[in-house]
């Protein structure tokens, strides 16, 4: 069974990284959000550095939400979703595998891009590292929470953008703890309370996401 799951993961990764797979869109959107911020609030580096951590997290959050409907959409279009549903693999694990692939393709690039974008916002070196680390720990929460939204968009084909909006309020705790963890880490305290809470959220959604997604997919079949 794990062979099959591994195959799903690899397949999804390959598809995402191919042209038209959407792997780069998240990072480009992240870049866009960070770049337009100074145009809105002015080029004062001190001010930008103050909101830097928050800016990176907002950008990462929006970029994650943007790519959500893609997780199951392509499979639904070409019918492979039906095959997956009919297979004897536990749906929860299938959803988890797809979520993991999606995170590798869209979440991880955000983590890598964050320190570079942080430079644009005048963050200190420690802050850059802090941002990358907390995003590494926090983006899985966003991806697996987004899995729920993605599966709902399978049930309701015209929902599309709506799904991102639905998931947004649920992502607020991740945002709160993520930014706080980044700021604590840039002050030198790595495993602060918010960091641990962020980690807890990621683990929590790692479970809740696939379970809820599997339920939604099962009902989509009816």
């Amino acid at each position: 069974m794990s062979e099959a799951l591994k195959a799903i993961l690899v397949r999804d990764l390959k598809l995402a990284l191919r042209a038209g797979g959407g792997a780069g869109i998240g990072v480009m959107f992240f870049l866009a959000v960070v770049v337009i911020t100074p145009f809105a609030i002015g080029p004062d580096m001190k001010l930008l550095a103050r909101v830097g951590a928050a800016e990176l997290w907002i950008g990462a959050l929006l970029a994650s939400l943007l790519g959500l409907d893609r997780i199951f959409a392509a499979d639904q279009e070409d019918g492979s979703l039906d095959l997956l549903l009919m297979a004897s693999l536990p749906l929860t694990l299938v959803a988890a595998a797809k979520g993991a692939a999606h995170w590798c393709a869209t979440g991880l690039p955000l983590v890598v891009a964050a320190p570079l974008l942080g430079l644009l916002l005048g963050l200190e070196p420690t802050a850059l590292g802090a941002a990358a680390l907390t995003l590494l720990v926090g983006t899985p929460a966003l991806t697996f929470l987004g899995l729920v939204g993605a599966s709902l968009s399978v049930m309701l084909p015209r929902a599309g953008m709506l799904v991102a909006v639905l998931v947004l309020p649920l992502a607020i705790p991740v945002l709160i703890f993520g930014v706080a963890a980044t700021e604590a880490a840039s002050r030198g305290e790595l495993f602060s309370a918010p960091f641990r809470l962020l980690l807890a959220l990621s683990l929590f959604f790692l479970v809740l996401g696939p379970v809820a997604a599997a339920a939604a997919l099962r009902h989509a079949r009816d």
């Binding site: 729920v148 599966s151 709902l152 049930m155 309701l156 084909p157 015209r158 929902a159 709506l162 909006v165 639905l166 947004l168 309020p169 649920l170 607020i172 705790p173 709160i176 703890f177 706080a180 918010p194 809470l197 959220l201 929590f204 809740l208 809820a212 339920a215 939604a216 009902h219 989509a220 009816d222």
Partner: protein, 242 residues
């Protein structure tokens, strides 16, 4: 009359005809009595006259959260127990709950201005209610996302449950966020501590609002059942070529 009878739409309609006016009357009586008691309480038991807004603000908050809880139970009914009226209840409750949530926010703003000088502050309670309002809007939007009531019902049920599970997490994180960013502030939008002179009118008003909710819910459920009948018959007519 066993509770299982409520599962029968026909039986439900019969019950509704009796219960809706009954609860409406109960609601009117309780709310009127509660407000009367509330305005009779001396002003210095409260922090000034404006605190009388509490009799509508606090019950709205209780109802907003209580209705969402009810929607979560209905969602379980839809997904797990397959109760025939569960998704009808969930769909009917959503706009009512959202309305109470909105009332809570608006009355909170109108209370905040005279008491603490600002229409809006990002304090823990108001912010949590705002996020709850967003969750309500999400469920409402989901119901409108497709014509098929059964599909919409299941999707809404899943979203409601996921949202419900997250409510304590959101509340905790918002509280935490608030203490993190709290300057040495005079704000305590929690309001005055509940003086016994205030408690009775508050509870009476809250019961009145709850009765109002039940009346509205039953009426909205009845409408939804009728709406589905109309839909089925319309399809039938189209099939017959009529």
């Amino acid at each position: 009359m066993p509770l299982i009878d409520l599962a029968n739409p026909h039986r439900f309609m019969q019950l509704a005809r009796v219960l809706i006016p009954a609860f409406a009357a109960l609601a009117t009586g309780l709310v009127a009595f509660g407000f009367y008691l509330g305005f009779r309480a001396p002003a210095d038991a409260l922090q000034g006259e404006a605190a009388r807004i509490m009799y509508i603000h606090v019950p709205s908050a209780w109802l907003a959260l209580g209705i969402y809880t009810l929607m979560a139970i209905a969602a379980l009914g839809t997904l797990v127990w397959r109760h025939p009226l569960a998704d009808v209840a969930g769909k009917a409750a959503a706009p009512i709950g959202a309305a109470f949530c909105l009332m809570c926010l608006l009355t909170g703003m109108l209370w905040g201005r005279p008491m603490w000088g600002a229409y809006w502050v990002w304090d823990a309670r108001l912010t949590s209610v705002l996020v709850l309002f967003l969750l309500y809007l999400g469920v409402l939007a989901l119901w409108r996302a497709t014509d098929d009531p059964l599909r919409a019902g299941r999707a809404a049920a899943i979203l409601t449950l996921v949202g419900f599970i997250n409510v304590p997490i959101v509340k905790f994180s918002v509280d935490w966020w608030n203490t993190l960013h709290q300057p040495a502030s005079v704000f305590r939008l929690d309001g005055p501590t509940i003086h016994p002179d205030i408690l009775t009118p508050l509870l009476v008003s809250a019961s009145g609002f709850a009765a109002l909710f039940v009346a509205l819910l039953l009426a909205a459920m009845r409408n939804e059942i009728l709406r589905r009948r109309v839909q089925t018959l319309t399809l039938l007519a189209a099939a017959k070529g009529g």
